[in-house]
């Protein structure tokens, strides 16, 4: 895939990682005590001890890795020489050179075809002479 499409894909994946991170944290966060006047929330089961503490770490590590990869891709962009006018000038110069080389090629091609026809003509003459010189037995 070309570099700009890769950059666009990387931006989209950073966005996806960000909202997955926040969504997962909001969904799985254990209830917390808001103020001393409310009772302590009931301890929730299932996921808490096992991997809830690691999830923020893992997800933020993935986010930072994606951002670093974006930077690496940006560094891999080819250097933008000049601007639009420089590119257009180069295109015009290349077109002129292409036309010149094309003309030359056309000339050589015509000369070569002419020579081919001459050789073929000579060959038919020589073959006819051979046939005429051979006497039937």
């Amino acid at each position: 895939m070309d570099i700009i499409s890769q950059l666009q894909e990387q931006v989209n994946s950073i966005a996806a990682l960000a909202f997955n991170t926040f969504g997962t944290l909001q969904r799985d966060a254990p209830p917390v005590r808001l103020s001393p006047s409310y009772p302590e929330p009931p301890p929730s089961t299932t996921e808490d001890p096992t991997n809830f503490a690691e999830q923020p770490k893992l997800m933020s590590a993935a986010l930072v890795k994606a951002a670093k990869q974006f930077d690496a891709l940006v560094a891999a962009l080819p250097p933008s020489e000049g601007g639009e006018e420089a590119q257009l000038r180069r295109i015009a110069a290349l077109q002129a050179e292409n036309d010149a080389v094309g003309q030359e090629l056309q000339k050589q091609l015509e000369a070569a075809e002419k020579e081919l026809k001459q050789v073929q003509e000579l060959f038919t003459q020589a073959a006819d002479n051979c046939l005429n010189l051979k006497k039937p037995d």
Partner: protein, 168 residues
């Protein structure tokens, strides 16, 4: 179930009755459209240009000059994005009701990022064109050299055969 038949062909097919005998007796095809046109009730334009951010009502975060340093702007936007994500996490912990503005700023950064990347596309198209032209010139030069070599080879062979025939 009611079904509709296909619509009939447009009625000006009769004008092309003698096309095989006389191609000039029939009307010319319509010229290409320029400017804006209406297709199935929607307005389209033939001038395909990337609409600027202000046209879409989005604030532009990177400075706009004649030549933008894309790499620098992309990198700085990336850093801004990371900082804003961190800010959003902080806001959610401390003042959860104020998330909306942070989310808006993050989406603004994303829109700017995508607009920058899209504005790189014309540059890429011109660079591709330059590359194709260079390849074509190189191939033509190689073909030219090839033809010249073969012609000289053929001349040499003819001279040799002439020499052998004369020496016979």
């Amino acid at each position: 179930m009611a079904t509709a038949t296909y619509p009939p062909p447009p009625p000006y097919y009769r004008l092309y009755k003698d096309y095989l005998q006389n191609p000039k007796s029939a009307p010319e095809p319509p010229p290409p459209i320029e400017g804006t046109y209406v297709c199935f009730g929607g307005n389209y334009t033939t001038d395909d240009v990337l609409p600027s951010l202000e046209d879409q009502g989005v604030r532009q975060l990177y400075p706009n000059g004649p030549n933008i340093d894309f790499k620098k702007e992309l990198r700085s936007l990336n850093r801004e994005l990371q900082l804003h994500i961190l800010e959003l996490a902080d806001v959610l912990v401390e003042r959860p009701s104020q998330y909306a503005r942070r989310v808006e700023e993050i989406s603004l950064i994303f829109k700017n990022l995508h607009h920058l990347l899209n504005s790189l596309r014309p540059h890429q198209a011109r660079a591709t064109l330059i590359h194709i032209l260079e390849l074509q010139i190189q191939r033509r030069k190689e073909a030219l050299e090839d033809i010249k070599r073969r012609r000289e080879e053929a001349q040499r062979l003819l001279k040799e055969s002439l020499a052998t025939l004369d020496g016979q």
